[in-house]
């Protein structure tokens, strides 16, 4: 594609031609893989130079991968709403909560309080997706009548209603017969964690061999069993990222995806061409919500209880930041945005802090004022110490700075400027019967 060679013009000739020969999705795979690889090598080098053991480096990379995968999942789902259809859904957390709570209710043991149905995890996951989709349907039907900004308020309101309802005392316990059901209020519901599916899988015949080999190798290199189990669960998440990507790309590159895009651009014009935009909007919203529910369940994978505190209204804000960083409207951008958010804005700073704390004897002054007073006296370390010490709060500043810089230099996000044509076929290609050469006007596209 024309845009690719303009971007790749710096690379050596053979690499360039080989990249050009790839189709869009192959190119994207290479892109994602190289971004991830470069980042991980960077982190690993920092870790090794900082004297961190291999077990903690691998553990850290697993955490990054885990959150990157979780973010990628939710961002991909949100991209269907916001990037494609222009549905400003800021109630993401609510739909995730519905998914997780439904699964918790289905899988929780009937003997615990609050009681569940005690059904297997896969049934719980399917139930959670259906429930999140249904709540999405309930939200979408009245919300179709309101304009985009009011739609945002409706979704945020719904999400808060869900959270407060889960928190409320009146739904805390509901006695049915001799069992006590309910939301558990602030203390939530206990249920078997989703990632217990990994040890279960490793107990199966044949697969258990793989497990034994992995643990063996881990033991020799110095990686603990729990890190390996966590890594395998993260691998499951990555498989889901792939599945989400496939599904959403297929949705996007189709006549249906074209309608969604047209709704984002100009709904009345789409209607005037005979498109049933209401139906398209509702189905897109329901599918997106159900995927958000699934992402929520996978996110909570290693936890054995769910409480309303996990679904604060700040969550959609993070998801939107990741989507904007990656570029709204691009599925590949969504994955890269989720990864960049998790790696650089969320987990990366913590890693750097732990290394700094381990190597330097940093003293953190109580306020930034004190730090500057000592800086004026010529001592830099108190300022560094202060910055490292208040890193958790400063991350939000970092997010803000990144957003501002992005708006200045790349207002469309990292990949939002790409032309991703909503079609099942290559539209520029015509049948050879016509005398016209395929239309490609060279580097007219972008940059």
């Amino acid at each position: 594609m024309s845009e690719r060679d303009s971007r790749r013009s710096g690379s050596p000739e053979p690499v360039r031609t080989r990249l050009e020969a790839l189709s869009q999705w192959q190119y994207d795979l290479v892109l994602i893989a190289s971004v991830v690889l470069v980042t991980y090598t960077g982190f690993a080098l920092i870790g090794l130079l900082g004297g961190v053991g291999i077990n903690s480096i691998v553990g850290f990379l697993r955490t990054v991968t885990f959150y990157a995968a979780v973010y990628a999942l939710v961002v991909l789902a949100l991209n269907l709403h916001w990037g494609y259809t222009g549905l400003f859904n800021i109630g993401v957390a609510g739909f995730m909560a519905v998914g997780v709570y439904t699964m918790a209710f289905i899988t929780a043991s009937p003997d615990s309080t609050p009681a569940g149905l005690g059904l297997p995890i896969p049934i719980g996951i399917i139930g959670g997706m259906v429930a999140a989709g249904l709540v999405g349907l309930v939200a979408a039907l009245p919300a179709l009548r309101v304009r985009a900004d009011y739609f945002a308020i409706v979704t945020l309101g719904l999400s808060e209603i869900i959270r407060l309802a889960l928190l409320s005392g009146s739904l805390r316990t509901i006695e049915v017969g001799d069992r006590v059901y309910g939301t558990g209020g602030g203390s939530g519901i206990q249920y078997p964690p989703v990632d217990t599916i990994i040890p279960w899988l490793l107990d199966q015949p044949i697969i258990s061999v793989i497990g034994d080999v992995l643990f063996e190798v881990g033991a020799t290199v110095g990686i603990q069993r729990s890190v390996i189990l966590g890594g395998l669960y993260t691998l499951v998440l990555l498989v889901f990222v792939g599945l989400f990507y496939l599904l959403l790309s297929r949705i996007g590159n189709s006549p249906y995806g074209r309608i969604l895009k047209a709704i984002r651009e100009d709904e009345l014009a789409a209607k005037s061409l005979g498109k049933d935009t209401d139906r398209a909007k509702v189905t897109a919203f329901v599918v997106g919500c159900s995927l958000m529910g699934l992402a929520g369940m996978l996110w909570m994978g290693s936890r054995s209880f769910v409480s309303p505190d996990s679904f604060m209204p700040i969550i959609p804000f993070y998801i939107f930041v990741a989507l904007i960083v990656g570029g709204a409207g691009s599925n590949t951008g969504s994955i890269i945005g989720g990864f960049a958010f998790a790696a650089f804005l969320w987990e990366g700073p913590r890693f750097v802090r732990s290394i700094l704390n381990a190597n330097l004897n940093l003293r953190s002054p109580p306020t930034i004022y004190d730090a500057f007073v000592e800086l004026a006296a010529g001592d830099l370390t108190p300022l560094v110490g202060y910055l490292v010490g208040s890193l958790d709060e400063l991350r939000f500043v970092l997010v803000g700075v990144v957003l501002i810089l992005l708006m200045l230099w790349r207002p469309d996000g990292l990949l939002g400027h790409r032309k991703e044509i909503a079609a099942a076929t290559d539209l520029s290609r015509r049948r050879p019967t016509t005398d016209r050469p395929t239309a490609s006007d060279g580097g007219e596209t972008d940059e």
């Binding site: 209607k271 005037s272 005979g274 032309k419």
Partner: protein, 291 residues
């Protein structure tokens, strides 16, 4: 539907409007019932916004295969009538019958699916979609418009095959309008005139029977205007019917066969362009009675 209960009122208004027409002799056929083969019949359409009656019993009909002009001073209710026909507004009273089917109060997409497609006064392209994507949206009842057909592994190949067919058609129409060199540009980067062409081209891909063009010549340079008119005539020869809202009197006088003049929400006069031109009521409405 509201067309049944407005029976007596409609008769009343018809005599009303024919009274105007007979008093100002030049206009021809009174009412629309004399048309041989009307494709669109608008009867006593009334639309109020709060206390304002924007369209006050508009009645007219369009002959199949013709180019009809809808004119009138600003605020005459042309655009509101347009919106009532195409389903953007639901008329408070009256009926709209298209091709023998009552489409009063149907949603815009249902009206368009019935074969009555409009363009807008200010072109409404999809700016961040390429010209080709804009075009490919248009074909009616595409298999892949259903989410499941597009996603499910078994049905996807049929969607792809159908899209290849529509793609061919889209290129043909782009070539017809001589904008195929813009096919891969974002529609938002096109000039105003090119957007008008794109909108018309896009509307054609829906395979409509009647095209309602809202000021197709506004903001279009003279050479492009000439081209656009040629296209419209060519399409008329192919069997399409047109209703134009237009302010440019030259266009109306030289390129339409029938003119409907609206004034203060109702039809003031109807007839051939020449006869409308000399109608005193029309002159008065346009020029405030000074000529």
């Amino acid at each position: 539907m509201s067309d049944t209960d407005s029976g007596p009122a409609s008769a009343e208004r018809e005599t009303d409007s024919s009274a105007i027409e007979t008093s100002s002799e030049p206009t021809t056929e009174p009412g629309h019932r004399s048309l041989d083969d009307p494709i669109l019949e608008v009867t006593d359409v009334l639309k109020r916004f709060g206390g304002i009656t924007a369209v006050d019993g508009a009645t007219f009909a369009i002959e199949r295969g013709s180019i009809t002009g809808l004119i009138g001073p600003n605020g005459a209710g042309k655009s509101t009538t347009f919106n009532c026909i195409t389903g953007v507004y639901e008329p408070d009273e009256g009926s709209v019958v298209f091709d023998g089917i009552d489409i009063t109060g149907r949603a815009p997409n249902q009206v368009a699916t019935a074969g009555l497609v409009r363009t807008f006064q200010i072109a409404r392209e999809f700016p961040e979609m390429t010209v080709l994507e804009n075009m490919m949206l248009a074909p009616k009842n595409q298999l892949g418009e259903s989410l499941w057909q597009s996603v499910a592994p078994g049905t996807r190949s049929a969607v792809v095959r159908e899209e290849e067919h529509f793609r061919e058609r889209a290129w043909e129409v782009l070539e017809f309008f001589e904008i195929d060199h813009l096919a891969e540009k974002y529609a938002g980067t096109l000039s105003g005139g090119q957007r008008k062409l794109l909108e018309l081209a896009r509307a054609l891909l829906t395979e409509p029977e009647l095209l309602l063009l809202d000021e197709p010549m506004a903001g279009v340079n003279p050479s492009l205007e000439k081209k656009l008119l040629e296209h419209i005539h060519e399409l008329q020869d192919q069997g399409y019917t047109f209703l134009l809202v237009e302010h440019d009197m030259d266009v109306i006088m030289n390129h339409t066969e029938h003119v409907v003049v609206m004034h203060q929400g109702s039809v003031l006069a109807e007839g051939k362009p020449e006869s409308v031109k000399t109608n005193e009521d029309v002159i008065e409405a346009y020029l405030g009675g000074e000529v």
